[in-house]
Amino acid sequence: EAGVVQSPRYKIIEKKQPVAFWCNPISGHNTLYWYRQNLGQGPELLIRYENEEAVDDSQLPKDRFSAERLKGVDSTLKIQPAELGDSAVYLCASSLQGFGYTFGSGTRLTVV
């Protein structure tokens, strides 16, 4: 089993540019999560999907962040425009009925 697959692994962009991250969850996992992890801290939830529905996006900065999970499988997280403070590791995770959380390796974003 491939696990949760994320791409790209690293991304360096200039501020005000757009960026997108992609996640393919474990096959059969209905719940998908996007987390942000700042240096020296634990991951913080940005958005949670149950199938294709975003059921918790209360921590997603909606002025510049957007996400989608078309067909309830893979997902993309977008930032437009990026700011310096968005530099972090963006983690995707999936689970089955809320258990068995499995994380991907993350995308390290550096905004310069």
Binding site: L39, G42, P43, Y101, G106
Partner: protein, 114 residues
């Protein structure tokens, strides 16, 4: 490689010794707890979990203890190995009528000294 945390609490243990990592959680209503291990450049990896109706659970070389009275969780790693060096996070699941949220602690950096 990437450094996950530069200002985390740290613990150094001699190889072969046992280690104990502690975690204080925030919400008395939390019903499920997970310990994760995060190596440099990787995502968090599940180690062991425990439900709130238990006070101890054992895995291979790892034991989690839960003290609900003082909202404290600990991870014991027996006979530590160099590969155990990583940042360890505890996470609590806060129930919320179907909108549960997994909240992570700050993390502890464990270094195994050969």
């Amino acid at each position: 490689g990437e450094s996950v945390g530069l200002h985390l609490p740290t613990l150094s243990v001699q190889e072969g010794d046992n280690s104990i990592i502690n975690c204080a959680y925030s919400n008395s209503a939390s019903d499920y707890f997970i310990w994760y291990k995060q190596e440099s450049g990787k995502g968090p990896q599940f180690i062991i979990d425990i439900r709130s109706n238990m006070d101890k659970r054992q895995g291979q070389r790892v034991t989690v203890l839960l003290n609900k009275t003082v909202k404290h969780l600990s991870l014991q790693i027996a006979a530590t190995q160099p590969g155990d060096s990583a940042v360890y996070f505890c996470a609590e699941n806060i129930p919320n009528f179907g909108n549960e949220k997994l909240t992570f602690g700050t993390g502890t950096r464990l270094t195994i000294i050969p």
